[in-house]
């Protein structure tokens, strides 16, 4: 049967490859092509303008700001989310100290797991409504209401949250972390349960404290999962489109006040759909493409470790 092997393999691969080329690679190529034109996005007419769109991007302050905001999210979102998720997962799985000396989570771990996972099942639309109510800019907002009751904020001058240029990005980050922690908690929990109990027991017998168990055993054995989480979170940080577009101020895909929460994705969509600069928007898309490509390569290379078998 050896001679029939290749047609067999090709037969199986043909359709997926056609789909992949047609639905992924070809649109990529088209985006590259459009990025070299002054296409408006609403007509069939366009002129070839060479690299004009890219040189324009270099001078575009809004784009530079958006890139910077994406970078900030890219660094902060994975770090904060992973740290919190790891801490919770550790506490829920092996952080407890029962009297009998066994390895277990804190009391009520199952309940906490469900509670922490909760935000994950909410759609972005619901998140937007929920956090819109939390971040409301007068005393009726949840956050302001509590702060006013506690006397920390005056009722006549409540915190402007999403409408405050210095706070808006942090507010967005908080929502992203809040909604993401639960998923990574469960991911890390599952991975932790794969770690043999005897390793922990051996550490316990040697008198290891929680901190030591975490840094010497849990984290190294979890490294691959953390790496995966990092990649996922980086993707969220590069995008974050739906949330920013729906909760931040500004007509057409948010990004306000005055571009202070602008991301490449929101700026791209506005240029494409509202401002009739589809060619320019495609150039932004190409920049994101290379940006993400480089980041992925770098992060995979930087987090490379030897695999531990157990």
């Amino acid at each position: 049967m050896r001679h029939g092997k290749y047609p067999f393999i090709v037969g199986f691969l043909f359709l997926p490859i056609v789909l992949y080329v047609g639905l992924v690679l070809w649109p990529y190529a088209q985006t590259f092509g459009y990025s070299l034109t002054n296409w408006s996005g609403a007509s069939q007419e366009m002129d070839f303008v060479g690299l004009d769109n890219y040189t324009r991007l270099l001078d575009d302050e809004v784009f530079a700001g958006a890139l910077w905001h994406n970078l900030l999210l890219l660094i902060l979102l994975p770090v904060v989310t992973i740290l919190i998720a790891l801490f919770f997962a550790f506490m829920l799985n092996v952080g407890g100290r029962g009297g009998t000396g066994g390895v277990q989570g804190v009391k009520g771990a199952g309940f906490y797991k469900v509670v922490f996972f909760f935000p994950q099942v909410l759609s972005i639309a619901i998140l937007a409504v929920l956090w819109g109510a939390v971040y409301r800019t007068d005393g009726s907002g949840l956050a302001n209401g509590v702060l006013i009751k506690l006397g920390l904020v005056s009722a006549s001058d409540p915190v402007q949250w999403l409408s405050d240029p210095d706070l808006v990005l942090w507010c967005v980050l908080a929502v992203l972390v809040w909604s993401g922690v639960g998923f990574y908690l469960v991911l890390f929990s599952a991975a932790m349960q794969g770690i043999p109990k005897d390793i922990y027991e051996a550490a316990l017998l040697d008198g290891a404290k929680r901190g030591q168990t975490f840094f010497k055993i849990t984290l190294p054995l979890l490294w691959e999962t953390v790496q995966t989480a990092w990649v996922y979170l980086a993707i969220v940080a590069m995008d974050a489109f739906a949330l920013v577009a729906s909760i931040t101020p500004g007509a057409y895909f948010g990004g306000g006040p005055d571009h202070h929460s602008e991301l490449i994705s929101t700026y791209l969509m506005r240029s494409f759909l509202r401002n009739g600069e589809a060619g320019y928007a495609c150039a932004m898309g190409v920049v994101i493409f290379f940006f993400t490509l480089i980041l992925t390569v770098v992060s995979l290379w930087a987090t490379k470790r030897d695999k531990i078998e157990y």
């Binding site: 609403a42 972005i124 409301r136 007068d138 006549s156 409540p158 999403l162 500004g250 759909l273 009739g276």
Partner: protein, 468 residues
């Protein structure tokens, strides 16, 4: 996205010029397919093909021909169209009328256009509107010039062209030809509660000085004088730009529209913006209003937490669920500044909600006749009653029609304004400039920039977008 409705309503009057943007992918697809059907414009008759002197049936509608009507089922619903269809049936009892309504205009109609059998009349609106310039480019639309020259049903001595409110024909024009009837007429200004004013004995201000004095009194009562939809600076921008237009006149407005940077050096701009800024400077704003959505702020206004709010005339219909029965919603034009070139009664007003007749429709004549019937006092009054909005028909609502207080007050305001209506074009023609202005206004309202910096930003943006 959680905010589809916001897009819809801000687009309300922008639809007029049909620049509302669709997903470009689908529209280019459409253009390709529509162009590819190949069949020439069968069914499109030259204007000469109609007997326009016949007031009864200028387009030669055959009684036996059916009529298919497709209505965008948005903020105005589709009940009003059933009333129009009843009028049509009275005239042509033999015609079988097929009424359809949907939010997804493109999804339902794109295949129909591509197959060459679109409905006879379409209310082409909403977030999924089919782009009018694309349809026009692929010869899918009937030129409405014969309709404009056809006799007005209520008074056959007049032509339709003469009974439309100012701006309607401009809104219907795509690339030099009139392809749509922008049926809904929107006016912009301040809104207040007649009850609140009556209870407190406040008089409605006509000048900006009176407005400011009244705001002091309102504030002393413990009510915020002004609320605005701060999350979308579009609304407060209307106030600022209208004050500029009234102070500087239509000529200045046109210069701003054409992105003439020097327009911003006009002293009228400085006068208007500085006068406006008193609202912020004297702390007249409702607490937190700078970050509120339109629903949050308008609801607070309905709860008498604020006295004035800026908006277009869709406000009453939009706020129906939260408006108290005795609220007595009232419209107020922008109060006058000393030396204004336009009178107090002048208001921003424009037509939107495009109705089209596809050129490849089976019953083009019936479609045109349907539009002509929409432009009668009867139909216009029905629309005002069911959709709480005005139509583009001049004096289209008679005294016998029972209107809600807000809509009724816009009728009065529009009558008082007469020819003194204006409408900026830059939101349709210079989206980036519009966006920059809105951002600057958001900063101004939060007192992060001064009026002088606002003007500087506007000027810079005009310069930048003029060359781009």
């Amino acid at each position: 996205m959680g905010s589809a409705t916001e897009y819809n309503r801000r687009d309300l009057f922008k639809r007029a010029a049909a620049i509302t943007v669709l997903a470009a992918g689908s529209s280019s697809l459409l253009a390709a397919c529509a162009g590819g059907t190949g069949s020439s414009d069968k069914g499109t008759k030259a204007a000469g093909g109609y007997n326009l002197s016949d007031a009864k049936n200028p387009f030669g509608v055959k009684d036996a021909d059916g009529l298919e009507v497709f209505i965008f089922d948005g903020g105005y619903g589709n009940e009003y169209a059933k009333a129009f269809e009843a009028i049509y049936s009275k005239q042509f009892p033999g015609a079988k009328i097929n009424h359809q309504a949907d939010k997804d205009v493109t999804g339902k109609l794109q295949p129909r256009f591509n197959a060459g059998s679109p409905p006879d009349v379409i209310d082409d609106s909403g977030a999924k509107q089919m782009k009018l310039d694309v349809l026009a480019d692929s010869n899918q639309l009937t030129d409405l010039a014969p309709l404009l020259d056809a006799p007005y049903i209520d008074d056959p001595s007049k032509k339709i062209r003469d009974v439309l409110l100012p701006g309607t024909i401009d809104s219907g024009t795509v690339k030099g030809k009139v392809y749509n009837l922008s049926y809904v007429y929107t006016v912009f200004g301040w809104w207040y509660s007649g009850k609140l004013f009556k209870d407190n004995g406040w008089t409605v201000p006509k000048t900006w000085a009176e407005f400011i004095t009244l705001c002091e009194q309102i504030k002393a009562k413990g009510i915020a004088p002004v609320a605005h939809q701060g999350k979308y600076p579009y609304y407060i921008n209307v106030v600022m730009m209208d004050m500029i237009a009234k102070q500087g006149g239509l000529e200045l407005m046109k210069r701003i529209d054409s992105l003439d940077a020097a327009a911003w050096d006009d002293p009228a701009v400085k006068t208007a913006v500085e006068a406006f800024f008193q609202i912020v400077d004297k702390d007249f704003l409702l607490t937190g209003t700078n970050g509120m959505t339109h629903i949050e702020s308008q609801t607070a206004w309905n709860q008498y937490k604020a006295a004035f709010i800026p908006s277009g005339s869709w406000l009453e219909n939009e706020q129906l669920p939260t408006t108290p029965a005795d609220f007595d919603m009232k419209f107020l034009p922008m109060p006058s500044l000393p030396g204004d070139k336009l009178p107090f009664e002048a208001i921003r007003a424009g037509a939107g909600e495009p109705f089209i007749v596809p050129s490849k429709a089976k019953n083009v004549a019936g479609g045109l006749e349907f539009l002509r019937m929409m432009l009668t006092k009867e139909a216009s009054g029905k629309f005002a009653q069911t959709a709480n909005s005005l139509t583009c028909l001049k004096d289209g609502v008679g005294p016998e029609v029972q209107l809600k207080p807000g809509t009724a007050s816009t009728v009065v305001a529009l009558k008082a304004a007469g020819d003194h209506t204006f409408n900026y074009q830059y939101p349709n023609t210079a989206s980036k400039f519009d966006e920059d202005l809105q951002n600057a206004s958001g900063e101004l309202m939060a007192k992060r920039i001064t009026p002088a910096e606002w003007i500087k930003r506007a000027k810079e943006s005009a310069t930048k977008n003029k060359t781009a």
